[in-house]
Amino acid sequence: MELPVVNDEQVELLLADLLEQYGYDFTGYSRASLKRRIIRLYSLDKALSFAEFRYRVNNDQDYFKRFVEQITVNVTEMFRDPVFFKTLRDTVLPKLGTYPFIRIWLAGCSTGEEAYSMSILLKELNLLQKSLIYATDLNPTVLEKAAQGMFGLAQMKQYSENYILSGGTNDFSSYYTASYSLAKFDEELKRKIIFSTHNLVSDHSFNEFQLILCRNVLIYFDRDLQNKVLQLFDDSLDDLGYMALGTKETIDFSPITGKYKRLANHKIWRKVS
C-alpha cells in the first residue's frame, strides 16, 4: 500500500514557504493539479523525505527555480486550436490593423510557441512592423527558452497542420531553419516580441493593450484569483480592445463581464464600454 508521498497539509506548508521565502503566492491556485505536480517532482527527484524536499526548496535557490518551473504547467504548442487563430486572422487583427500601433499582451506565454505563432500571423497580414508583442510568464527559465526561438523539429509536422488549418497559406517550413533535432525560427519573427517576467498574482498592469491573450492559465486558478486576474486584464485593455481566453475558460462569472461583448462561438471578448 503506497499512499501519496506528499499530503494536503504538506502542500500547504510548501505554499506558505514559497510565499514567505520568495514572495511567490500560489495560494490561489487550484490544489488538485498543484498537488499532482508536486508529487510528480518529489518522485522524479527521488526526495528522501518530505523534510529534505522542503529544506531544498527553502534553502537552495536553484532548486526553488526548478520547483516553480515544475509545479506550473508549461505545455503549449504553435497555432493550438487553429480555429482560434483563424478568427484572429480573419476578424480580430484586421480590426486592429486600422490602428496606428498594436500592442499585444500574451500572458502566461510559457516557452513562447504562441508568441511566434502571433508573430507569423502579424507578418502575413503586414502588421508586424507596427506591432509589439509583450510575452510574459512568471518563470524566468521558460522565458529563456522562449527567447531562443527553437522548438523540436519533431513537432513541426503537427504545427504545420495547425498553421494550415488556421488559414495559413505559406510553406510553414519557410519560417524556420532545421538544425539537428531543432527548428530555429527566423530572427525577424522575434524582433517584435519582448519576453519578460510578470506574475499575474502579484504584479500590476504595465501598459495599455489592444489585445490580451491568456489561454489555459486561468484554469489553474481558483475563482477569486481568476476574478482578480480578469480585473488586471480589464485595467490593461483599451476600449474596443480584445481579450482571448482558452477553450474552457470564460469571463461569465467575473464582475467585468458586463463591459464585454463576446464574439459568437469564440472565447474572445471585446471591451465595449
Binding site: E2, R31, Y220
Partner: protein, 187 residues
Amino acid sequence: MGKCDAFVIGGSAGSLDVLLKVLPLVRTDLSFPIVIVIHRKHGADSLLPDLLSARTSLRVKEVEEKETILPGTVYVAPSDYHLLIELDHTFSLDYSEKINFSRPAIDATFQTAAEVYGAGLVCLLLSGSNADGVEGLKSVKQWGGLATIQDPESAQVAYMPEEARKRVNIDRILRIEDMPEFINLLS
C-alpha cells in the same frame, strides 16, 4: 460498501457502445453524480454529451471548470484536458502532459476522485486498448473505494479491463447487462 458519493466511469475504444446501452437503464433519481472520462479525438467536442443526453432523462453535461459536482447529474470530461476533482467537490481542468498517451487520462480523474471521495467512490473501467485507468484503480483501492471493471469477455477491446484484472484487486467484474442494476442499487 456504504453509501456511494460518486460513480466514475473510464473507457476507451469500444466503451461508447457500453454507455449507450447502460445509461438508458439507470434510474433518473440518482443520489450521486456520474462522471465519464472517455478517450476521444480532440475536436470531437460536445457531441458526446448530446449523444448520451438523447438516451436518458438524467441531466447530462460537459464539465465546466470550477463547477460544483451535484448528485443526479452525468458529467462528461471535455476533450484534450485532464479532469481533476478538488477537495471541495468541484471540477478543475489541467492541460499538462498526456498520461498514457491520453488527455483526458482516466488515471488522473480516478486518482483525484479516490482521495476526495474515499470509501464513497465507485469506479468502473470499460473496454479499451491501453492501460490508462489501471493505476487509478489502484488508488481507488488504497483510499477505500470500490474498483470495478467491465468483464473483459464482454469488452470489444479487452486489454484495458484485462490489465486492471491482472494488476489490481478488483471488487466486481460486470457484464454489460448487469451494469444498470449494479449502479441503481448503489443509489
